[in-house]
Subunit: 412 residues, 2 copies
């Protein structure tokens, strides 16, 4: 398998990163390791949000025959010409659905097939009913109140192009053809291995990454195979990477330059470490490798670094594996920067911003603030490695967290 | 309980609607019956997307003590003044975390507490290590590489204001305080009763509404209590409305003017039918009532009518009950109309549109096309009851289905 980088990552422990891969190299690696999961059959009731394995082609005309759009009486439209409240026209009430006799009408309800011969439905509002006859007090045009065979859908029409997550209306339409099972792309199984936070002096530092990564994997269409805490030993890490069953392995923590940062070495022991160290901030100690055929993403243990590296690389990989590479987790909105941002050339930086009066205000240093800065932010921006930052007033793309959804009132 | 309308709905069977409530009256009714569900405790791992019962206030400083941002050696910054590769300064390597001796340094890793006396962390890159000493080859400023106690979060700060769905980063931040259980608004339990499609002549017309409504309820933060098919009898419908356990009852089908449209009468028998017939298209036969304390929404059986009535009224009610009234299911984008739309004064119409070259093209008649028109559309627009339609070139609000998410590449 080709590698995005030539250089074999060296052991950075106690030394630091001599060089880092560019974000583009890391994304190229992600693209190369994005094998879409196989298809599986699921019941229709579980299909909401899933990705069809193949585009959905209408198996039949819909409606299958001419049907009534609304409740009323099916009749021949030509026989209603001239009807009005001053000139009610009488129709025999035919109580079966055989071919319609002349000047007869049959009671139909919304969605029911029309009797042979009928070409319109007159609503109750335009009739006065007797026991064996009805009086029609208004004329109807041919086809009025009728849903013609195949009018909604012709057999063989491509209705839902894959890949995209199925909406409720898609599920309804598929169900209307009597289909109860669907073939969809299997959710990628993601194994999450957490080394745990280090608290040498007895401080109990709780884990932020496990629950966060579980939620992120679900958000991106994956399924958590297992979420295992407290694996720190190199051999144990290797063993967890080698065990079959996952489509992707995320190891969180022990990726840096500390003496006990064994995760990169565990990848090397079990497979191939392709990239260790990426020119991004937060998330600079991220690693990418392969064990067997399975991609392994090493995420930094600092929660903000973990989130940024996940979003940029692991989330994209999960979306690719799930068959829906375009499902982006954040909406983008352009805004003017309210203050300048200084960034290092050669490193892509991710900066949390708040929106005040339509302007984006950066929230401090990219490496500080932790998850609290994300929780306080309205979104984030990327500052490419080629830039020293942005001047105030620059137009930037904000990736929105969409916390306080705008009140989009459906009543307007 | 006050009613939005004065008039008591009459039996419309075989007669038609003499009058209909306005959409505003229907929405006012929804507002009056939107009692937020009670709170419940859930494990943090299930909290993604849920609504906190109360705003989350930081229970502690984060970090709880001064900690290292990155790996390296903690020391006194003033002792590094003048250090360079031409003038390496030697520090004693102290291998415990007691108070730091003068000209000593302690190995620290990202996230670990600093020893007493240290005020900076020098990264490995600026050191050359021996066995009992290190040489520092660059000076560091006070606070460099240090995350001060409470720098990310001060105890008592409001971090997450409710109501909004929790993001993965929120879950991570809450977890970092060692919290493993959260108090959230209970998901409203929604009972779905389907009368089933009528196929008098033996045509097997499959149900579209059940799977669609299941998906819609989940989308809007509800939970399906039960989804029961084939209830058509008035007494049976009343009985299903009376049975306890649900926060909201949706009855689908048998709402119109046909002789067997018993759903409104079943509400009257079991409770109060407040509104039957709404001046909207599709969805004109929608009904609203109360049985016991529980709101009942009668949705038309035609799938497109069902979807529109659900989106306008039932979905809003579910979002209100779930405590998150602002979570809108559709993004709104403005666009120019590429063709005129004709609409009836006095009736709010919902028109499916496709976007071609940035212009919104209406997809035929509001009542025809069924779910297939939704599946073919990019979104829909509302034409208010006060308008006869829109001229070509009018700027309209498109409620987007977001099927083909724009490729929002995170790598930029």
């Amino acid at each position: 398998m080709p590698d995005a980088t030539q250089a074999i990552p060296r052991d950075v422990r106690m030394q630091g990163f001599a060089q880092r891969a560019s974000v583009d190299e890391a994304l190229e690696w992600v693209g190369l390791h994005s094998k879409i999961c196989a298809a599986e059959n699921i019941p229709l009731d579980a299909a909401y949000g899933r990705i069809l394995a193949a585009s959905f082609i209408s198996p039949a005309d819909d409606p299958p025959v001419d049907t009534a759009v609304s409740n009323g009486y099916a009749l021949r439209s030509c026989e209603t010409v001239g009807a009005s409240s001053y000139n009610p026209l009488s129709f025999h009430l035919q109580d079966n659905h055989s071919a319609l006799e002349p000047f007869s009408a049959t009671l139909v309800t919304s969605g029911t097939p029309l009797p042979m011969g009928a070409d319109a439905v007159v609503p109750y509002e335009l009739t006065q009913s007797g026991t064996e006859t009805i009086d029609v007090i208004g004329s109807v045009a041919q086809g009025e109140g009728v849903n013609l065979k195949g009018q909604e859908v012709r057999k063989g029409t491509t209705l839902i192009e894959t890949p995209r997550p199925l909406l409720a209306s898609d599920v309804g339409l598929i169900s209307s053809f009597g289909i109860r099972q669907l073939r969809v792309i299997r959710r990628p199984l993601v194994r999450i291995i957490l080394t745990g936070r280090k608290s040498p002096e007895g401080y109990e530092l709780a884990d932020a990454n496990g629950p966060m990564l579980r939620a992120l994997v679900v958000r991106d269409g994956g399924s958590v195979e297992i979420c295992q805490y407290g694996i720190t030993d190199r051999n144990a890490l290797s063993e967890w990477m080698t065990r079959p069953g996952a489509d992707l392995i995320l190891v969180c923590g022990r990726t840096g330059t500390g003496p006990d940062d064994e995760a990169p070495l565990a990848v090397t022991a079990a497979g191939t470490l392709s990239i260790h160290g990426i020119a991004m901030r937060p998330g600079g100690s991220t690693g990418l490798g392969v064990v067997g055929e399975i991609p392994v993403v090493l995420l930094p243990g600092s929660p903000l670094d973990c989130l940024c590296a996940y979003d940029l690389l692991a989330g994209k990989l999960i979306r690719n594996l799930s068959g829906c590479s375009l499902r982006a987790p954040y909406r983008i909105r352009q805004a003017r920067l309210g203050r300048k941002i200084v960034s290092s050339i050669g490193t892509m930086e991710i900066c949390q911003v708040r929106l005040f009066a339509g302007e984006a205000i950066p929230l401090g240093d990219a490496n500080l603030g932790g998850l609290a800065s994300v929780v306080r932010a309205d979104g984030f921006i990327f500052i490419p490695a080629s830039l020293e930052g942005y001047a105030p007033g620059a137009i930037v793309d904000i990736h929105l967290y969409d916390k306080a959804d705008e009140a989009e009132d459906l009543s307007r």
